[in-house]
Amino acid sequence: MSVPRARLVDLMKAQCQVFATTFNPEGVRMGNKVLRQRLKGPALAAYYPRKLASIKDVKREFGPVLATWDEAEEDRFEYIEELKQRGKSAPKKKKGPPAPTPGKKR
């Protein structure tokens, strides 16, 4: 038993209506596969971890209200103190314009 083509086409039409796809019995290229593709931009853009709020940011926002505790910063200050005790810290900031060096031609 063979099914007539017209009947098969009718079936295809009904199928397309039910599943909301485009009816295209000749198989003409209509580019619908591009429209069917999912967008991958959001997934790609979320690859690298974004910046989170740091202790410094919290301090800047809630400085007078909230007491924060920054361990890394305290470690840094401690290290600087240590350097100062050994006399190895950074020199003092100069005030005023630098003295003109002798022997330098204009």
Partner: protein
């Protein structure tokens, strides 16, 4: 390119110039993806007039390189390496430098 780059750094991982560049490309691609897909649809649709399809082709090829998904490359989030990056871990197969 610099016009796409974020004015303030918004990355929380290991950062080097190439990481920032890749991140910028990702964001630009996300922004322009729908436009690219629309043009691709027009190019592939043979029922449209040939002239329309040709112009769509031109427009797609004239878009900036940063809107292209092939420009994106997965990089290591610990060391910024571009080679031998395991997708599941986002890290290189060797220890981060």
């Amino acid at each position: 390119m610099s016009m796409f780059r974020a004015k303030k750094l918004d990355l929380g991982c290991f950062v080097k110039a190439r990481t920032i560049r890749d991140h910028t490309k990702r964001k630009v691609f996300e922004e322009h993806e729908t436009e690219r897909q629309a043009l691709r649809y027009m190019i592939r649709n043979t029922t449209l007039p040939p002239r329309v399809r040709a112009t769509a082709q031109m427009q797609l090829s004239q878009m900036h390189a940063y809107t292209r998904p092939t420009q994106i490359r997965n990089r290591c989030i610990m060391g910024g390496q571009g080679r031998g990056v395991l997708r599941a871990f986002k890290m290189t197969r060797v220890r981060a430098p």
